[in-house]
Subunit: 296 residues, 2 copies
């Protein structure tokens, strides 16, 4: 992993030379459109539906917005801001419309399968993942400043065009994100541990409170007594189901591996309760208390 | 379960007739002292250490504060605001200092063992649990208004003195808490599901992110990429280790039962990922999304 302090050779291309294209104007694409225009760039966007195009024009998410892939002609950098499933299985018309000389990047939360496919499809593809979000989605969701201070992770490999990588780094710098580089496999394992697997851990908690409450004939009571601790712990488990499923599907191996680590830890804690090893349990919880600030 | 709408016979005692005693001036005891004085009551407090007494006097947590149990003489209602372990194994001097005619209540987060012991020790004991808190503890932690709008659960049984119960209800009303009554066993199972078990679920997540990061040689990366979702899900697991251990210890059977429910749900979700049953997984996560608002 290298961070923004690393030195890159000066890019042959500068971000402002040609328009930037965005494919998809949801939360990420729309927010990017707002920030890039605020940074003085010309932004052209491709969307799927004409109703989306109309609303996106009203919101001024880009200067040119169309449902025709030809809108991307002339762009020097194109950001594929698509959901993971569409990114991994894009329409043929989209792939054909991407200029061969343009730099292509994506914003998907899983990197290894994206890198494998797109590197075969386009010579100047750079796999990247801006780690920013809100609970919102769709053409109304984009906001200014979404990426500021948040990690923007690129996962180049030996085949990645270094000039293309430098151009994506310029993009991340323009929206004030914190640039990081790491191997795609490390990225996918890390996000499985801190994002994709925790969705399932949190979802199981909601289900357990529901089922356990029923079993104890206390379904109403558990709901009434649940407080801020439960609200926090259950937040991501109660989030967008399509997104949670896509993450598990597209990062399946890393999620299963993360669940394996999780199950092991939980079983150890359960055994300490079962065996009434209270000082050992307190030591483990003390370790957790000391660990957490590292993750904030 | 009955709620504050239920009718009680008018109490023979009114809350303001005699001073209220508080044993322990930590977060709960101190906050109670502030609110009761603001409500016009005379409050007397017993604390363990003279340094605590001194600081509590400076903070005006009660009108009379002493390390001598005799300070409780003349009180009509005494609130035992002690940690669970000291509540279950109180000093003999404290038990002997409690006037037989006073109503005694507690604030412990586990009710069945407290009720069993204290009912045998004092004829006017009422088991109760004000469900309010902050991350703070100790004599500096008490704040005004801590209980407003929060549940105050009482767990009376057939042996509970109904006049005593009504007096504790007056106390809860004075601090603007939401009064609830339910059997002690139901309370303990409910709090195991929504509070005590989730501590372990959340702690295991911190440990898994740490261990899994090490195993993937990505220990620094997982820390760097962890965002608000991980912060929320790990919050209670990184909380006070003594408190987490006490809850597991004093509510062991209910916590083990809750962990059983939890493990079952998580194993089912893991199996769906393992077997690539994506539409079933999305259905389960949709159920979680629909379930969560009931717990807020």
């Amino acid at each position: 992993m290298t961070s923004s302090g690393s030195s890159h050779p000066p890019s042959a291309e500068a971000l402002g030379q040609r328009p930037v294209g965005i494919v998809g104007l949801g939360l990420i694409g729309g927010s990017l459109g707002l920030d890039l225009q605020a940074g003085g760039l010309e932004v052209r966007a491709l969307v799927h539906r004409s109703s989306t195009a109309e609303r996106a024009r009203q919101r001024q998410l880009a200067q040119q917005i169309d449902t025709d892939p030809q809108v991307l002609q002339g762009c020097g950098l194109i950001v594929l801001a698509l959901p993971l499933d569409r990114l991994l299985d894009p329409p043929q018309a989209l792939r054909e419309a991407l200029p061969t000389d343009a730099v292509i990047t994506d914003v998907g939360s899983v990197k290894q399968p994206v890198l494998e496919r797109w590197q075969g499809w386009h010579p100047r593809f750079v796999a990247s993942h801006p780690m920013a979000g809100t609970a919102e989605a769709g053409v109304e969701a984009g906001i200014s400043g979404l990426f500021a201070g948040r990690p923007w992770v690129a996962t180049p490999d030996a085949h990645t065009d270094t000039d293309a990588l430098a151009l994506v780094e310029q993009l991340a710098a323009l929206v004030k994100a914190q640039w990081l580089q790491c191997p795609a496999a490390a990225h996918d394992q890390a996000v499985a541990l801190i994002s994709h697997m925790p969705v399932l851990v949190s979802a199981a908690l909601l289900e357990a409170a529901d089922q356990g409450g029923e079993a104890a004939s206390a379904a109403a009571l558990v709901r009434q007594l649940a407080s801020s601790g439960f609200a926090d712990t259950s937040r991501i488990g109660g989030g967008n189901p399509e997104l949670g499923t896509l993450m598990a599907r597209c990062n399946r191996n890393a999620v299963l591996s993360a669940l394996g680590h999780y199950r092991q830890q939980l079983e150890q804690l359960e055994a300490l309760v079962q065996q009434e090893q209270w000082s050992e349990l307190e030591q483990r919880l003390t370790g957790c208390q000391q660990l957490r600030p590292d993750f904030l």
